[in-house]
């Protein structure tokens, strides 16, 4: 197949794989910028994936599913907030606890409600999923390779959530750097004492941040179960929450670089898929395990080579107490 087509398809795959990562990473960004380590990304996504698939299966509406996904993830986020903000619990433990709990709760409820072994029913009906939106004349455009394929496969042909995620990056950059909320958010993650002396409630701010993280994780989870696949399967997040966290750190807790990190992870992943079993010059066919490890190795190399020190928000991980 010609290189051009390959590249377009590779990039299209990159976008699809990057979408849930990006949503989760930006979710984490809001939480961590406020000073709350977000190790619960995985759990919130998983919870949302389950809720979205369940509601969509029952009601037949992906939109209701999305709503349920968001509600669930926000509820979990607030639970984490309750533990870490109100009760100053350990943020890492809270995130992990919620993740563990959800990974058991999803299948448990699934089994009780649908009796399909902890999975949700297949989302097959019309409107039960966010399906790919074909852009006008995409089919015709596909015929003329350039720029038709680009138009049909890369720009078009994704589901709604993908576009949502793409729009999220400039939007969150705007929120972070151009709004009052963003200013306060950045401040509270750096020096909550300063925020407190400025007469702003540290806890309220952190709850808001955590809730936003919930909303975005809700969208990410919904993407997994009602867009990228068609139903909930146990542990279907498969570590994406942790990868998103890595992307967030890689992106130095900023929207655009985080987008870059997500695209990079996704691209190496898509590339690795295509390199499986392909005979490469000099080395020949590389064992599939090493190809599968490629994205991780590459990340480490990039991290060591090109990216400077990532400086975390200063107050991250430290419960806020007025009297030190």
């Amino acid at each position: 197949m010609e290189t051009y087509t390959l590249i377009v398809l590779l990039l299209a795959a990159t976008i699809r794989v990057a979408t849930p990562l990006l949503l989760a990473a930006i979710a984490g960004m809001f939480s961590e910028r406020s000073g709350i380590i977000d190790l619960g990304l995985e759990g919130k996504m998983l919870g949302a994936a389950f809720a979205a698939a369940s509601v969509s299966a029952v009601t037949g509406s992906a939109w209701l599913g999305l709503g349920a996904g968001i509600l669930t993830a926000v509820a979990l986020a607030l639970l984490i907030g309750f533990a870490c903000i109100t009760h100053r619990g350990n943020q890492v433990v809270a995130g992990m606890a919620v993740t563990i709990m959800v990974s058991g709760l999803g299948p448990t409820l699934g089994l009780a409600w649908f009796n399909l072994g902890g999975q949700t029913p297949q989302l097959d009906g019309p409107g039960q999923r966010f399906t790919e939106l074909a852009w006008p004349w995409a089919e015709q455009a596909r015929a003329l390779p350039f720029p038709g394929l680009l138009y049909a496969e890369l720009l078009g042909g994704h589901n709604l959530i993908v576009y949502l995620a793409a729009a999220l990056v400039p939007f969150s950059a705007w929120v972070l750097y151009r709004t009052r909320f963003g200013l306060r958010l950045r401040a509270v993650g750096e020096n909550p004492h300063a925020v407190d002396t400025a007469g702003i409630s540290v806890n309220a701010l952190r709850y808001q941040a955590v809730a936003i993280s919930g909303v975005l994780c809700g969208v990410a989870g919904t993407y997994l179960s009602t867009a990228a696949s068609a139903g909930f399967v146990r542990d279907m997040t498969a570590g994406k929450g942790y990868l998103a966290l890595a992307a967030l750190i890689f992106g130095k807790w900023r929207p655009w670089p985080t987008l870059g990190a997500c695209l990079l992870f996704a691209f190496t992943d898509a590339l690795a898929t295509r390199l499986q079993g392909v005979a490469l010059p000099i080395v020949g066919v590389i064992p599939v395990q090493f190809i599968l490890a490629l994205p991780y190795v590459l990340t480490v190399l990039l991290l060591a080579g090109f990216v400077g020190k990532a400086v975390a928000p200063k107050a991250i991980g430290v419960p806020y107490a007025k009297e030190k």
């Binding site: 009052r180 401040a187 002396t197 400025a198």
Partner: protein
């Protein structure tokens, strides 16, 4: 004092029976006093007397166990800084409450952005700050990132924050501890202007000269209670000092003439560059002799700190040599631990962040840097008995309060934390002692005590290098004075030849006598 006053103008701020305990520590005992509107009110007291605690209560950071706060005669509930701000109270904390990676403008508007979007609020603040700058002489580069600013300017940002929030009562907790004399002068001029505008100021400080110079009234605290409240003009420096400490204090350093001996530390052509490659110390060459105290004077930011850190081994020089006991510390690349073993002790300027670990108990802090010395170690394990005994002994000898080696260092007041660091370094019986700002933030009794210790060390034949922005201190302690300007040691004066004016000129970059 509770008799109904016929005076129609109520005090700007009045405290009635404020009481606060931290566990066993009774930090404030039924404190009552009033701040007259349009005045500067001084608050003094020994380290740990409870001044900061009281100020934090007024600003809503701590909650008093009992008592009442009145603003303009009306009782107010202050349980949060927000309520304090609403009541017209502003505070500049001992440790700044700034977001370091924000710009000045962002720090000022934080909390009073004036709308959901930043752009409008920032523009408004820019204009308003321009006005404040004109009115009070508070110039600050608004778009500079705070961490890039010298402390004096950072403090100005804190004051601007309060004024921008229309504070009528401004609390300053030890504002001059980190300032150069010039910066302090500017601050006081500005406070005077605030007073002219009818605003009230509470000034917490250990420097009695400042109290005498700028305040209208003084409240003296000791062990959590108010022990005196006087009009400044009715008292004297000595009188205040006695009220504070409860005994007579020496305000001058008492010492005999120095008997300098052989050079202990020799520095030759030392050059230090910062992270950006800029030379901060340029070709420094000097000796420290046994039995003398050398003062290193200079306006902050002229390379003294870098020089001190390089000698101590925290920074690496780009050129030059430092000889101690016949060994070239630079060429051998000795780290601070190895230097300590050779008898080079160091009291860093920033004791809070560099010289100690706030969350460790006092006894763990008392061995920092000496943790692998045989005195504190058995074969493999640390000798806990020796560590505890060492700490108790230091606490007793340096009057560190409370004398509890198990207490986390952060639970001690600022001054007591400092004393412990000094005790550690002086007690190690070093050959050469490097000290940055020896008495920053410590009370007058402690200053007397520290000065005595330093002189005793000198008289025992050790070499001391003191970096201080307090010319008083340099003039009081030093036997010989080096002056730095722009990274160069531009002059050296024997104590006898040194006057405040001559040093001042040299600090400003004037090399030879006579001047420009």
């Amino acid at each position: 004092m509770t008799a109904p006053s016929p005076d129609p103008a109520p005090p700007a701020l009045e405290l009635r029976g404020i009481d606060k305990r931290f566990g066993a520590v009774h930090a404030n005992r039924a404190i009552s006093f009033a701040v007259v509107g349009g005045s500067i009110h001084g608050l003094i007291g020994e380290n740990g007397a409870g001044k900061s605690t009281l100020m934090n209560i007024i600003y809503g950071f701590h909650r008093a166990d009992a008592g009442e706060i009145r603003v303009q005669g009306r009782p107010v509930e202050i349980h949060s800084p927000q309520q304090a701000i609403a009541a017209g109270i502003g505070m500049v904390h001992q440790h700044f409450m700034l977001v370091e990676n924000f710009t000045v403008l962002e720090n000022v508007v934080l909390g009073v952005e004036g709308g959901r979007l930043l752009a409008g609020g920032l523009a408004h603040a820019r204009a308003e700050l321009g006005r404040l700058a004109r009115d009070y002489g508070l110039e600050v580069p608004l778009d500079a990132v705070v961490s890039d600013l010298p402390v004096g300017l950072q403090q100005r940002v804190e004051i601007l924050k309060a004024l921008y929030r229309r504070a009528e009562i401004l609390i300053l907790d030890e504002p001059t501890a980190v300032l150069t004399p010039q910066e302090a002068d500017q601050l006081f001029r500005m406070l005077a202007r605030l007073r002219e505008q009818g605003k009230s100021v509470i000034l917490v400080t250990h420097k009695l000269r400042e109290i005498m110079a700028v305040t209208d009234h003084v409240t003296v605290m000791r062990q959590g209670a108010v022990v005196a409240e006087v009009a400044t003009r009715d008292t004297s420096l000595r009188g205040l000092a006695e009220k504070m400490v409860g005994r007579a204090v020496l305000l001058q350093v008492e010492k005999g003439p120095a008997r300098p001996g052989a050079p202990l530390l020799s520095v030759k052509d030392l050059e230090v560059r910062d992270g950006l490659g800029m030379a901060r110390v340029k070709g420094a060459t000097f000796d420290l002799l046994a039995g003398e105290i050398v003062g290193l004077a200079g306006v902050a930011g002229n390379g003294q700190s870098e020089l001190l850190e390089t000698l101590a081994g925290i920074r690496a020089p780009s050129r030059g040599e430092i000889r101690l006991q016949g060994r070239d510390l630079v060429r051998e690349g000795l780290d601070p631990r190895a230097r300590r073993r050779l008898g080079l002790a160091h009291v860093p300027e920033d004791r809070l962040h560099v010289g100690m670990v706030a969350r460790f108990p006092a006894q763990a802090n008392a061995i920092l840097g000496y943790h692998d010395s045989p005195a504190y170690n058995g074969g493999v394990l640390l000798d806990r008995g020796a560590i505890l005994a060492g700490c108790e002994q230091k606490m007793a000898a340096y009057d560190v309060r409370p004398p509890n080696p198990q207490l986390r260092l952060s639970a001690f007041s600022g001054g007591n934390q400092q004393k412990l660091v000094l005790a550690r370094e002086i007690d190690a019986d070093p050959r050469v002692l490097l000290i940055g700002q020896p008495t920053r933030g410590v009370d007058i009794g402690a200053i007397e005590f520290i000065h005595k210790k330093l002189v005793a060390l000198r008289d025992a034949g050790k070499a001391l290098l003191i970096v201080s922005v307090e010319l008083d201190e340099i003039l009081g302690l030093a036997d010989r004075i080096l002056v730095m300007n722009g990274g160069e040691i531009i002059g050296e004066l024997a104590r006898a030849e040194a006057t405040e004016e001559r040093i001042g000129l040299m600090m400003a970059g004037v090399k030879a006598e006579g001047g420009v």
